[in-house]
């Protein structure tokens, strides 16, 4: 479980997060939704310590992540995976080498074991046939799946997905979300998904939180969100369903 308490962050005097309070339950898929530029990515980058808040706390594993040094954060980051919007694959490495990279860095395994593990992870995300390709040769969906395989290599407890379906066609969007759901079940993952996609959220989320004007406006199960009578939420949902 992650507990975010009164998180505030400004950039050049502009307040992006104005006191976010949110509990992310374990072993569930939590969607964080909101308009573009409301700070959704900023929020999840705080969870892995890529950004430091101006004030507030983020509790995980009985530790306040915001107070940890870079060295202490490295231990936390082995438990929290992060899937970047564009994948952030190393473009000088093949897909398989990308997946092997965290294994080489953090596990004492033979080269053969590392290769086998990488291939197993690529099979899980249905990308084994592209193992020798470079990221520039992959489609958007394949890049995201390759990045997901690399993220899973460290066996994280939590995976943060920064707009995993953006830029993909509807069929691929559903297939990526089904993969995320499948991985959640298989590895007992806690998943946090940043998205604008209301139908996907209603179909796959266990919980949905709306970030609006720097704060969590509402939070609940998809069924609860559907019945909430709040003008911004209604407008957001209805606009998405037109």
């Amino acid at each position: 479980m992650i507990n975010i308490k009164d998180l505030k962050k400004s950039f050049d005097g502009f307040e992006v997060l104005r006191g976010v309070n949110l509990i992310i339950p374990a072993n569930q898929i939590t969607f964080i939704m909101g308009q573009s530029g409301t700070g959704k990515s900023v929020l999840i980058k705080h969870i892995v310590g890529l950004l430091k808040p101006d004030s507030g706390e983020i509790w995980f594993d009985n530790q306040d992540i915001t107070k940890l040094s870079e060295k202490e954060l490295q231990k936390i980051r082995k438990k929290i995976g992060f899937l970047f919007q564009e994948g952030a694959l190393f473009d000088s490495m093949t897909v398989k080498e990308n997946v092997m990279f965290p294994l080489k860095e953090h596990f004492k395994m033979s080269k053969k074991e590392i290769e086998e593990k990488a291939e197993e992870l690529l099979s899980v995300v249905n990308l084994l046939e592209a193992k020798d390709k470079y990221p520039s040769e992959l489609s958007g969906g394949m890049r995201k799946r390759a990045a997901l395989a690399r993220t899973l290599a460290l066996q994280p407890q939590i995976v943060l997905f920064d707009e995993p379906t953006t830029g993909l066609d509807p069929i691929l969007q559903v297939s990526i979300m089904e993969l995320i759901k499948d991985l959640k079940e298989r590895y007992s993952l806690t998943c946090v998904v940043i998205s604008h996609d209301v139908p996907l959220a209603f179909k796959f989320a266990d919980r949905i939180a709306f970030l609006h004007q720097g704060k969590i406006l509402v939070e609940g199960t998809p069924e609860e969100i559907k019945t909430i009578d709040e003008p911004f939420i209604r407008n957001f949902i209805e606009s998405a369903l037109i």
Binding site: L50, R77, A88, F90
Partner: protein, 255 residues
């Protein structure tokens, strides 16, 4: 904004950059000695900065030695001192031209590439991805390059000295027809170990300086593809000018 405010802002930026570059150097320097040791990467970058720069350094120093000998001979002929040509050329090369030209060539060939590669990694979030995978990006990306620069620049400089002197010898002996024995004897008479070592010490500093500046500019690049281009240009300009300025300062310290 008035003139003084702009001046103050520019001054503060320079101060911040200098502080940032120095901290970046210290981190890159000392992280190399933390686990996991990056010996494989060190060798890879020694090849990239050193072996792959060999031909350019060879050609640059050969022709620099030749043109220096040619020009100095004209000047010496006016005062009838052509016999010291070998010594003058060797001194010029070992003290100044060898280390400075080598550093400039390495900046152009490897420094710009370091800056562009790190800048590209920064804007495509690959550096953040390293952090997320609990890998220290400076230790992984910059430390091995820094140490490769520190170790390889003196070797390249020694080669540049040797090749440049050989170029000067070719011009002196075969083009302006100075007795080869006198050329060689004056080189041995006039060049001391201190002259050679001052150039080598300079090259160690230049190696650290150019990798730090180019690495820093790339590592903190922002603003998309244009930002990477800007960072690379700034890296090349700052490290080249910095090396010429620091060369003067180091010369005054050594002699």
């Amino acid at each position: 904004m008035n003139f003084f405010a702009l001046l103050g802002k520019a001054f503060l930026k320079v101060i911040c950059d200098c502080g940032g570059i120095f901290i970046f150097f210290l981190q890159s320097f000392f992280y190399f000695f933390t686990r996991p040791f990056r010996i494989g990467l060190l060798i890879k970058y020694m090849e990239f900065i050193g072996v792959n720069s060999f031909l350019v350094v060879f050609l640059t120093s050969l022709f620099s030695g030749m043109v220096t000998a040619y020009q100095v001979n004209i000047a010496l002929a006016k005062v009838g001192s052509q016999s010291v040509l070998g010594g003058v050329v060797a001194l010029t090369l070992t003290r100044e031209l060898g280390p400075v030209l080598t550093a400039v060539v390495v900046i152009a060939r490897a420094g710009s590439a370091i800056s562009a590669e790190l800048g590209s990694m920064r804007i495509t979030e690959q550096i953040d991805a390293l952090k997320i995978m609990a890998v220290n990006p400076i230790q992984y990306l910059v430390s091995p390059r820094l140490w490769a620069g520190i170790l390889v620049l003196p070797l390249l400089t020694a080669i540049a000295d040797l090749v440049g002197i050989a170029g000067g010898y070719i011009v002196g002996a075969f083009l302006v027809h100075i007795d080869p024995g006198i050329l060689t004897a004056r080189m041995i008479d006039m060049v001391e170990l201190k002259d050679i070592m001052s150039g080598i010490y300079k090259s160690i500093f230049f190696g650290a300086f150019l990798v730090t500046v180019c690495g820093y500019k790339g590592y903190y690049a922002s603003g998309g593809a244009e930002g990477v281009g800007r960072a690379t240009t700034e890296a090349v300009v700052i490290s080249t000018v910095g090396i010429l300025i620091s060369d003067y300062i180091l010369t005054t310290i050594f002699f």
